[in-house]
């Protein structure tokens, strides 16, 4: 006799169907494209199978390596800054003080704004000629800075914007972790004469490791595939100074319309990200979990 549990698969079918339609098919099609030559000017005549040619072309492409290197650099710097600031903010916000809720809401505000809008707002704020930051510098008698126009500075500006945008997210995660940390070990440490820093470093931080690991993984994925803020803030420029790997893939796909090559890059991005996450798991995850 078939029980009600036997029919659960039928109720799940629409959900599986929807996931297959919006995720499975595009993923499978892009994998198919990555082994084929699809160019705007030639696809009408056919989409020939080219084996690993697109992947080989990507691995031998200077632009790909430049973007990958740049993305990893950006990711590491932004991640470290966001973690340090986020943990610090969480510890501060754990304290009870007047206006705590207001501070929390203010910190969370950037997270409510769409990334493209954030990029556009910061493009104005960081403008050499019209930007608020340069106006403040000139009020202080300091020289103006080409935050976005100087190829040596543009990537740092991107870090500033990302830190402003997502540090609150890290703080929120760590704050939730702090709420779950038992108070007894910390009280015991204080009774034993440990300083606040020693208590934090030796008791609180180790207990927060699982949460910090989640924050690291989450932010790594976001930072590695960053696109919208970069696209609206710098467009990948000056020249290619902020052309992160996702922007590079986009340009290959939707400026050059070389979709086979762009698809291959996308799969290389997934592989690179998986490799980075595996390293993170080895360094942090095992001990954290």
């Amino acid at each position: 006799m078939r029980g009600p549990r036997d029919r659960t698969w039928a109720f799940l079918l629409p959900a599986y169907g929807a996931i297959l339609a919006v995720v499975g098919i595009p993923v499978a099609y892009s994998l198919y494209l990555s082994f084929h030559r699809w160019k705007l000017t030639t696809f009408q005549a056919g989409v020939p199978f080219v084996g690993l040619d697109n992947y080989i072309q990507a691995v031998g492409d200077d632009g790909f390596w430049h973007s990958l290197e740049l993305t990893i650099g950006f990711m590491v710097v932004a991640l470290v800054v966001e973690l340090v600031l986020g943990i610090g903010l969480a510890v501060l916000l754990e304290q009870v003080f007047r206006g705590r809720r207001a501070v929390l809401i203010l910190l969370l505000l950037p997270m409510f704004v769409t990334n493209v809008v954030i990029g556009l707002i910061w493009r104005i704020l960081l403008s050499y000629d019209f930007g608020l930051l340069n106006w403040l510098l000139s009020v202080l008698g300091l020289p103006k800075v080409a935050w976005l126009g100087d190829p040596g500075l543009a990537l740092w500006s991107l870090v500033i914007v990302d830190v402003w945008n997502t540090t609150a997210f890290v703080a929120l995660l760590v704050l939730a972790g702090l709420a779950a940390v038992p108070d007894e070990p910390r009280q015991a440490a204080r009774v034993d004469g440990a300083s606040a820093w020693q208590t934090f470093r030796l008791i609180t931080l180790p207990l927060l490791k699982p949460v910090i690991f989640v924050a690291v993984v989450w932010r790594t994925i976001d930072l590695f595939r960053i696109f919208d803020v970069v696209y609206s803030l710098t467009g990948g420029g000056p020249y290619n100074a902020t052309e992160t790997i996702s922007v590079y893939a986009y340009n290959q796909g939707f400026a050059s319309f070389n979709l086979g090559f762009a698809s291959a890059i996308s799969y290389l991005i997934i592989l690179a990200l998986a490799f980075i996450l595996a390293i993170e798991y080895r360094l942090l995850g095992r001990r954290a979990t």
Binding site: T41, S127, Y128, D150, G235, G237, P238, Y239, A255
Partner: protein
């Protein structure tokens, strides 16, 4: 008896109306169409002109204004995919060969032959319509057939005791004399990667540059003239410091803003910006102090500068292509051309350009007639987009200091060579 008569009359009337669907369909409003246009003066103008169209014809039009940064990619994605996002699209002529090769555009010859309006005279649309004709089929009606001017501040030049520059050397000398950083720079350029070619092209041709030999198709961007042009262009920032350090992020809108906000004394800008720059409501700081002239060449009298050719085309996936056609016919070939001109646009309709009211209201059209023989249009090839990408990367790289002008143009030459081969031209 009376009711039978009424029924007979109703049936007869129904038969007459039923046998004349064309008459009925013309008196009814056409279905609403969606028109894609990029942001900036063209979109502002289109809004005004559409108001007149809807008021005159009763046909509704929805405008889809898309940011300039992503306009090209948005069109390509939809048109190549056979999408039905828009019934009419504002597109650069050099994009069309690739769109057509991908089967993304519908020819409009049939509409021209079968449903022409009384006002349509194809002779008025020459030579612009030729840029939208491929393999004998017309794919759209021409809009902007324009160029750029050198805009300069008459008050600042007079204060410095200088005449408007007549050569590129004089442009540099004036830019250096008027340079007052960081508040106002002597010049403004726009070398953001995705728009760099559309700014650099004027300098490239002013110096006598050539993309390739039209006879042999030998790529020549990296010859002496091309390198001299890119050296001049990039040195404005890297050596002379007469442009803002932010020009690596500038495109059309930023050049316009720098001129309008008194942040630059001179600049080359597309003529679509003229109305905005000379309108005292939109540019109160400079409207009465800015003048414009033909972009000076490197050798006195030997003019050469860029031009663009735009048009209104109908995607093959359009939901209402007939209604789209009637709109562009009115906009370009009919009363709309004059509205377009009077609201700041540059019609390719020669009758509208010669209209005394238009001539009196838009003085730059007189200069446009003078500029016409010297304009250079980006080649209309299926691989034009790759040529543009190669040139804008070269310009952006040189200005950003990532490559020397010679190296940047050597790299561009290699890319253009492969684009010509890939397109089957070599």
């Amino acid at each position: 008896m009376r009711s039978r008569t009424l029924v007979t009359l109703a049936l007869t009337g129904g038969l007459i109306l039923g046998s004349a669907p064309a008459v009925l369909s013309q008196s009814e409003p056409l279905p609403q169409i969606r028109v894609a246009v990029w942001s900036g003066p063209e979109a502002d103008n289109l809004r005004k002109v559409v108001e007149a169209y809807t008021s005159e014809t009763g046909n509704p039009v929805e405008i889809d204004e898309i940011a300039r940064d992503g306009y090209d990619a948005a069109l390509r994605t939809s048109i190549v995919g056979g999408g039905s996002d828009w019934d009419v699209v504002y597109a650069s002529a050099d994009w069309l060969p690739a769109f057509i090769a991908a089967g993304g555009l519908a020819p409009i010859d049939e509409y021209i032959a079968s449903m022409p309006a009384d006002f349509l005279d194809m002779a008025d649309l020459e030579p612009g319509v030729s840029n939208l004709t491929f393999d004998g089929s017309v794919y759209g009606f021409p809009s902007e057939g324009d160029t750029a001017w050198l805009f300069y501040r008459t008050d600042l030049l007079a204060e410095a005791g200088l005449e408007p520059p007549q050569t590129m050397d004089e442009v540099l000398a004036a830019a250096q004399a008027l340079n007052a950083p960081p508040d106002r720079f002597g010049m403004v350029i726009g070398s953001r990667t995705d728009e760099a070619w559309w700014d650099f092209m004027h300098y490239f041709w002013a110096f006598g540059g050539q993309l390739y030999d039209p006879e042999t198709l030998e790529v020549t961007v990296n010859d002496e003239a091309g390198v001299a042009a890119l050296t001049f262009y990039s040195d404005l920032l890297r050596t002379h410091g007469v442009v803002s350090p932010d020009v690596t992020t500038y495109g059309f809108n930023e050049i316009l803003t720098a001129l309008a906000q008194d942040k630059a004394a001179m600049g080359v800008e597309w003529m679509a910006a003229t109305q905005s720059l000379t309108d005292c409501e939109q540019s109160p700081l400079v409207c009465d102090k800015l003048a414009y002239e033909l972009i000076p060449p490197s050798v006195a009298g030997e003019y050469g500068f860029g031009g663009s050719s735009w048009g209104w085309v109908i995607p093959s996936g359009a939901a209402n292509p007939e209604a789209g056609y009637k709109f562009i016919e009115w906009l370009v070939g009919g009363p709309g051309a004059k509205y377009w001109a009077l609201n700041g646009g540059i019609p390719s309709n020669t009758a509208a350009l010669a209209d005394p009211e238009v001539v009196a209201a838009v003085p730059q059209f007189e200069l446009l007639a003078e500029a016409m023989p010297y304009r250079h249009i980006t080649p209309l090839l299926t691989t034009s987009d790759q040529i543009v990408l190669a040139m804008q990367e070269a310009a952006a790289a040189a200005v950003a200091g990532a490559k020397e002008p010679q190296q940047a143009l050597d790299d561009a030459a290699a890319l253009i060579e492969s684009a010509l081969v890939e397109g089957g031209y070599k």
